[in-house]
């Protein structure tokens, strides 16, 4: 078995303090191998998004260890976490999170700008990513001129434009109809087929069926009886 790309040990996350404290994660363990295609399922409020945000280096755990490619992320500073988010991880949000009043192309280019890629190359790669999600004809439309499914595909194009090793998707089909869901899942399938590690959260069994492996989160822990 090859070295795990993501390794999480006794991960805890508490929001707030005192009486109002919410324990979203209560000692979660998870290992994801390189090239894995993992679906995370679980009841609403069980801590799935909290986990994925930490995996995406968008948030930090209250305690526990998160090893990314074998290196403890607690050792990284703010700037290095930024570089990780930029180069290594592509994150797809449930609510798209595109920059308003900015064209699809410019949104997809964004990570490349912060990576310091030159203009011409940037344009080419962003167009290629949009072509991959079948939206090259909508490159100059703004988010408010796109359907939900199209916005989600733009968000996916943005997540994969830097060719990250890991793609994390929080309910990527949550807001989409069956047809759009199939489009989106097709893209994620292809990404995994090309060697990327894909972790996604979903409530739908037919979406989870695309993954090689399903993990259930119950009350901030990975449910017993399922191999982690």
């Amino acid at each position: 078995m090859n070295a795990p790309v993501i390794e999480v040990r006794d991960l805890r996350k508490t929001y707030g303090t005192g009486d109002t404290a919410v324990h979203a994660l209560r000692g979660l363990d998870l290992t994801v191998a390189r090239g894995d295609y993992l679906a995370i399922m679980g009841a609403s409020g069980s801590g799935k998004s909290t986990l994925l945000n930490i995996l995406g280096c968008l948030d930090i755990p209250s305690s526990g260890r998160y090893l990314l490619d074998g290196i403890d992320t607690a050792e990284f500073g703010e700037a290095q976490l930024g570089i990780l988010r930029n180069r290594k991880i592509g994150f797809v949000f449930q609510s798209f999170n595109l920059i308003p009043r900015t064209s699809a192309l410019a949104n997809v280019e964004l990570p490349l700008v912060y990576a310091g890629v030159r203009r011409a190359e940037r344009r080419e790669r962003a167009m290629a990513a949009l072509r991959l999600v079948g939206l090259d004809d909508r490159a100059h439309h703004r988010p408010n001129e796109l359907s939900g499914g199209q916005q989600q595909r733009v968000a996916i194009a943005r997540a994969l434009v830097t060719a990250p090793a890991i793609v994390l998707a929080d309910e990527p089909t949550g807001n989409l109809d069956t047809r759009s869901s199939q489009d989106v899942m097709g893209i994620l399938d292809r990404l995994n087929a090309s060697g990327r590690t894909v972790v996604l959260i979903t409530h739908e069994d037919d979406v989870a069926a695309h993954a090689d492996r399903v993990v259930r989160v119950v009350d901030g822990r990975v449910a017993q009886g399922v191999p982690a």
């Binding site: 948030d59 930024g82 988010r85 949000f93 999170n97 700008v113």
Partner: protein, 399 residues
Amino acid sequence: MRCTEVLAFAVRGVTANKLRSALTTLGIMIGVASVILLIAVGNGASQSVQQSIAGLGTNVLTISPQRAQPGSSAKELTTADARALADPVEAPAVRSASPVASTSATAAHADVSYSISQFIGTDPAYFSTTNSAVAQGALFTADDLAQGRKVVVIGATVATQLFPSTSPVGESILVNNIPFTVVGVLAGKGSSGLQDADDTAVAPLSTVQNALTGYGSLSQIVVQATSADTISTAQAQVTTILDGRHKVGFGQTADYRVLSQEQLLTARTATTDTFTVLLASVAAISLLVGGIGVTNIMLVTVTERIREIGIRKAVGARRGAILGQFLLEATMLSLFGGLLGVAAGFLGARFTIAGITPVIVPSSVLLAFAVSALIGLFFGSYPASRAARLRPIEALRHE
């Protein structure tokens, strides 16, 4: 990531929401322009007062009545006082002393009527004392004064108001329904602060007292000293004579006041200084209000865009890149608004405002510009820098 990219983001940020940017710019512009203009008006007023007083000459004394003590009745200034001051033996330093009775009056010619703010009755020496030159026709003479002829010399403003197209000399005008013959027109002197020096008419004292003011107290006696060097000697002689005539005892306050042009200048400058301070405080308030407006818009702008900051951080933007972008956006809006404000201020200063020609004070331009620009910069970038310090997920969740 290069600086040009940050600049491009900033430009896009400014142009993305044009209305918001325009409002921010407008707020800064109004703040800057009003400060520059208000201070320019105050400054213009005090400068023109100084110029007009300086134009009167340095060898003139003005005597006006004043109440000595509350309750005590002021002895009036009379023509006899003026005659006594002109005595070459008692007051050798005095060249002439002109009694002045002044009132406002309504003058009419044909179907035009105009209210003259200063209708003056005096003697012919008054013209040389006050540096008044004749532009058309002639001044009235000692003989006119002696005979009490109804002749008048009118100021430039009165001339243009009553005789827009014809020459006034030789024409008859009705002053408070009494016919006067215009014998001359005075050369223009320009406006002095809040008062137009050309809005005047001068007639023989005897005529004015007879027809308009009655034979009561004079408004003033205008004394011309023999030269600028003898002005203080003249002032002493005038005081001695008047103290004697008005029975002002030693140590008592006199019931008249003698002021040289220099003293008059100081007094008037103090008045206009107060005026300038008043305008400056209005300007300061408008700067404050403008500043609060700018603060408000900048805060709203940044708060509204904290999610955007979160998105940028989530895809790997460094804190510096985000900060640079917002700092540049704020700089562009502040600079642009500030420059427009300066332009508007200079443009507004070209117009006469309430009879005052504004004179721009360079330091006020700098102050107004700097204050608004700094406010814009600070409130445009400080909240952004705080947002850039958040974890991406915190910024994304921001409402």
